[in-house]
Symmetry: C2
Subunit: 201 residues, 2 copies
């Protein structure tokens, strides 16, 4: 019998290199990236099933009604959420499922799926984050400042996660990520939870 | 300020390759191996401070009385124990302290030091363990059978540890060990424990 995979929930302020780290991790076929669903229309270049599952409001509400969203939130009159079925199926197949969600969603997931592994990726320092965002050269100072402010808010939640990775060197951060997953695979926590709690995810 | 090191408690049935794994880990100067104290006389070839700290019964009882043993047990009228001071000092210096103790001692440690990391090393299978013990060629079938029986008993406790490493390939087992330690270093558990529990070790 194949072991159930791990549910891994990752959050990070914008500019922390989260995308690069996850891309590297996802090269390993033992991982599956869970694509969120949304009711907002696709932006230019966005692909259905890659960036998001773009679905209608009626479809989204139908899934909610049937208890099919692990977590969801509304933002600017649009729904964003994690469809349960997709996650469930992959976990049962023994895949480690990666969810990239923001802090509020992650805190919801912690309640819903206590067996989930919550990882927060931190920039080395706020000033380094500022430097990285400026280096991109795609955003105005105002937007960068807003992002920094947002990062500060999010970083306050870091200690609520199970692990904190500081991305000061990319190779180290990737290695740290892999160490966490391997340790979780070797942990007896899952066996103990099975005895005391029903699997909720 | 240097972070406090991790207290790592390792148990394994005889013949699981624990010694080889620990020797490899201890090449890293970030680790300190905690040598147990005993009142039994040294055997031929045993060195004081390497195999054990050989101390008198009066000295041992004096340490117990002053609350200076983290855990101790008596076996064949001799004391065996882990002196607190040595462990404490190294943890404060930021070293990861390795304790190699048997199952009963480890279960004591779990109560005394909830922040300790308990690792159990399993053989791939009982028959493989049998093969390894026979290959050594140093023990009679009777002794081997007694060891196997002992291993079976100890392995029943494996799930009480935080992690189980299966030593089917030495390089993998060493890598797994390192992954666990790194993950524990990145874990927020210690920060949370500091808030809720006094550091007992």
């Amino acid at each position: 019998m194949k072991n159930r995979g791990l549910l891994i929930i990752v959050s990070a302020p914008s500019g922390c290199g989260k995308g690069t780290i996850l891309a590297e991790i996802l090269k390993d076929k033992a991982y599956h990236f869970s694509v969120s669903a949304t009711t907002r229309p696709p932006r230019e270049g966005e692909i259905d099933g890659v960036n998001y599952h773009f679905i209608s409001k009626a479809e989204f509400e139908d899934i909610i009604e049937k208890g099919g969203m692990l977590e969801y939130a509304t933002y600017c009159d649009n729904y964003y959420g994690t469809p349960k079925q997709q996650v469930e199926g992959m976990l049962d197949k023994g895949k480690n499922v990666l969810l990239e969600i923001e802090v509020q969603g992650a805190m919801q997931m912690r309640e819903i799926c206590p067996e989930g592994v919550l990882i927060f990726i931190n920039p080395p320092t706020i000033s380094e984050l500022q430097r990285r965002l400026k280096k991109r050269g795609t955003e105005s100072d105002e937007v960068i400042n807003a992002r920094i402010e947002q990062a500060r808010k999010e970083m306050k939640y870091a200690n609520e996660y199970d692990y904190i990775i500081v991305n000061d060197r990319l190779e180290k951060a990737i290695k740290d990520f892999k160490s966490i997953i391997r340790a979780e695979e070797l942990s007896t926590k899952k066996n103990k939870m099975k005895k005391t709690e029903a699997e909720s995810c």
